[in-house]
């Protein structure tokens, strides 16, 4: 037992579970304060999400919907995680996600491209968009959080303007992808039949593979080592002959590419359309922060934490809307992010407890 607790991975997992439980508890208390009558039922339904459906068929379909939306979240949190390992807080992932969405939708609807070119185009545009943050950081010393936020808003208004040219005349939404250009829809490779849901696509296995690749690149390759070294100590990395400016720009370009891919993996399923009048940056990039930290900053952990965050976000619509609003799940996930700030403290406490009991044992012997 004690040996198990000493392991880094186990500690990270425990810390995440503690964060989740506390987050849910606080969410439950908020519901209780608003109206004690339906609180228990609502929080249970929120956690159940698609399990609420009675028919197995529908349950599977809703599971598919959650999965479809988990994919871009995994990509966004990989984007944030990748930068964080290099010591950069890429809050601009939300904007890079927007850039990717704008690129793939315009390529698909305006130019009639096929799915793969659209996806690659989204990736490239988002990578360039991310690289802007990197260049500003490397050569002008601009704090990446502030430039990221500014680029989020610039991206949002740009996307709204560009995508207005491919929107329906009667509504603020972009045209239906499956009607205008079905060739831009991601292939299903049979997953649609498995889930009885046409939005489950090749994106699911792709995202899982990318998560594994990111993990390998960060931990097992020279470039990953260099990037992490730059993150830990920029000056030491420079002294050791690593091109720290190039590393910063490359990191943010890769982060951008990941976020942009995520957008393409959602919008090219036809599950969602872009709303050209939206006045806030999509929450996906910000939820990615939650998923990255909840996953203990490990690419594989991210897969599970992303699914959990999306699970409770979707579950939020199950609460009794006579009293509560679905944003309660946003409250829960933001509380979880806040608590992730205490992970270091939780790990320290666990270690202290272990060494104290070790000491006691030593004294007895």
């Amino acid at each position: 037992m004690k040996k198990l607790l000493k392991r880094e991975g186990v500690q990270a997992f425990l810390a995440s579970i503690i964060c989740i439980l506390l987050g849910l508890l606080i969410g439950y208390v908020v519901l209780l304060l608003i109206n004690p009558n339906g609180a228990t039922e609502s929080i249970v339904k929120l956690v159940q999400n698609f399990f609420v459906s009675k028919r197995a068929n529908l349950r599977l379909k809703n599971f598919g919907n959650t999965l479809t939306k988990t994919i871009p979240l995994i990509m966004c949190s990989l984007s944030i995680l990748f930068s964080y390992k290099v010591g950069l807080f890429n809050i601009g992932a939300a904007g890079q996600y927007v850039a990717g969405a704008c690129a793939c939708l315009y390529a698909a609807l305006g130019w009639g491209w096929g799915w793969l070119p659209c996806m690659l185009f989204a990736m490239v545009i988002a990578a360039v968009y991310g690289a802007i943050v990197g260049v500003l950081k490397a050569y002008c010393n601009v704090n990446e959080v502030i430039s990221g936020i500014m680029l989020n808003w610039i991206g949002l208004y740009t996307a709204n303007t560009i995508l207005s040219s491919v929107k329906e005349t009667a509504s603020p939404y972009t045209l239906y992808l499956d009607k205008e250009n079905p060739s831009a829809l991601l292939p299903n490779i049979g997953l649609d039949k498995l889930f009885n849901n046409s939005t489950v696509t090749i994106a699911v296995p792709m995202a899982l593979i990318i998560a594994i690749v990111v993990s390998i690149v960060l931990n097992k390759t020279r470039i990953g080592y260099e990037l992490r070294a730059t993150g830990i100590n920029k000056n030491a990395a420079k002294y050791a002959g690593m091109a720290e400016n190039r590393n910063i720009i490359m990191t943010l370009a890769i982060s951008g590419a990941l976020a942009g891919l995520g957008a393409s993996m959602l919008y090219q399923t036809g599950y969602m359309r872009w709303e050209c009048t939206q006045s806030s940056v999509p929450a996906m990039g910000f939820n990615g922060i939650a998923a990255a930290f909840l996953g203990g900053l490990s690419p594989i952990g991210t897969i599970f934490s992303s699914f959990f965050i999306q699970h409770i976000t979707d579950g939020g619509s199950n609460v009794n809307t006579n009293f509560y609003s679905s944003q309660i799940s946003d409250v829960i996930s933001s509380v979880i992010i806040y608590l992730c700030g205490f992970v270091l403290f939780i790990k320290l406490t666990i270690n202290k407890m272990i060494s104290r009991s070790d000491e006691k044992k030593g004294a007895k012997n």
Binding site: I34, N35, I146, M150, A290, F323, Y324, S325, S333, F345
Partner: protein
């Protein structure tokens, strides 16, 4: 033109108040990225007072609304204080969480309140027409807002506090070299708490000012549209000095005001640019300005680094 001046001044007041908050917090050594969230919570407090207590005499109502914004802002900033000062948490992460939490919590709260008073009302809006009028004096079409002089007073006070006051100088020492400050008997934790709380009060006021700028109804789902971060950019552009921050706030306020008023200028209207271009303007200007000024930035040396007594 009058309208442009009016909007410039009011947006500059918002940015100024919030940027001064960020400035004090950073001088104490804590990066406050949660300013945006604190603004939302402060705005919520002010909006509640304005919508519920508008029957009071104007002076009392104005003071109460301000007080509500300040107190709620300070309480909310404690989230940052506890995590960053005592638990050595990552300040960027905590600030981001506070921003997300504020919008979500304010939405849930306002929706619950609206639904409780009217079961069919699921909106996240608070309306405060009467309350807003009390903040404003109409001079020949120019809407003079009490926040404009307040912002100027705040600059002077912050300047006096930081540079002409023992407490303020001690606070700044904690942002430059906390170990040295501690060695001469200054309580670093106390000073940092003071920095965080003052920034909470100022940002809370700024939030209230923001929702009073042009409208008399606020939808809390929208948050404050990146104003907290614009304020941080103002602070960096102002080189962490109150006087320069005031000038920077005016510049940014002008660009923000343009998006509200460009239709009134025949020259700008004739360009027929999409309105989104003007919406983007403050953010683009901010990026350009930061690109040119960050190189020589004079940030407090120890900002963002948790204070560890054992490091002395």
């Amino acid at each position: 033109m009058l309208l442009l001046i009016q909007y410039t001044l009011i947006f500059a007041s918002v940015l100024l108040l919030v940027a001064l908050g960020g400035c004090i917090s950073e001088h104490s050594g804590i990066i406050n990225l949660g300013l945006e969230g604190i603004m939302v919570i402060g705005a919520l407090g002010g909006a509640l007072v304005m919508s519920r207590l508008a029957f009071l005499p104007p002076a009392v109502m104005v003071l109460l609304a301000l007080l509500a914004a300040i107190v709620l802002g300070m309480i909310y900033s404690c989230l940052l204080g506890v995590a960053a000062i005592h638990f050595k948490a990552d300040q960027t992460l905590v600030g981001t969480a506070m921003n997300l939490l504020a919008t979500a919590a304010a939405t849930v709260f306002v929706k619950a309140m609206n639904t409780a008073s009217n079961p069919d009302n699921h909106s996240s809006e608070i309306e405060y027409v009467a309350g807003r009028k009390m903040f404003i004096v109409n001079i020949n079409g120019f809407e003079f807002n009490w926040f404009m002089p307040l912002a100027i007073v705040a600059v002077v006070l912050v300047y006096l506090f930081l540079y002409k006051n023992r407490l303020g100088l001690r606070l700044m020492a904690c942002g430059e070299h906390p170990q040295a400050a501690d060695s001469v008997g200054i309580n670093v934790y106390k000073m940092r708490w003071m920095g965080v709380l003052i920034s909470g009060a100022l940002a809370g006021m700024g939030g209230l000012c923001y929702i009073l700028a042009g409208v008399s109804l606020w939808k809390f789902e929208n948050g404050v549209a990146g104003f907290g971060f614009l304020a941080l950019a103002v602070m960096i552009f102002g080189q962490w000095k109150p006087g320069k921050i005031a000038l920077a706030a005016l510049l940014f306020g002008l660009f923000r005001a343009l998006s509200n008023t460009y239709m009134g200028f025949p020259f700008l209207a004739s360009l027929k640019l999409p309105s989104n271009v003007y919406n983007m303007m403050p953010y683009i200007v901010c990026l350009i300005v930061l690109a040119f000024t960050s190189k020589t930035s004079r940030a407090p040396k120890a900002e963002g680094i948790p204070y560890d007594q054992g490091m002395r």
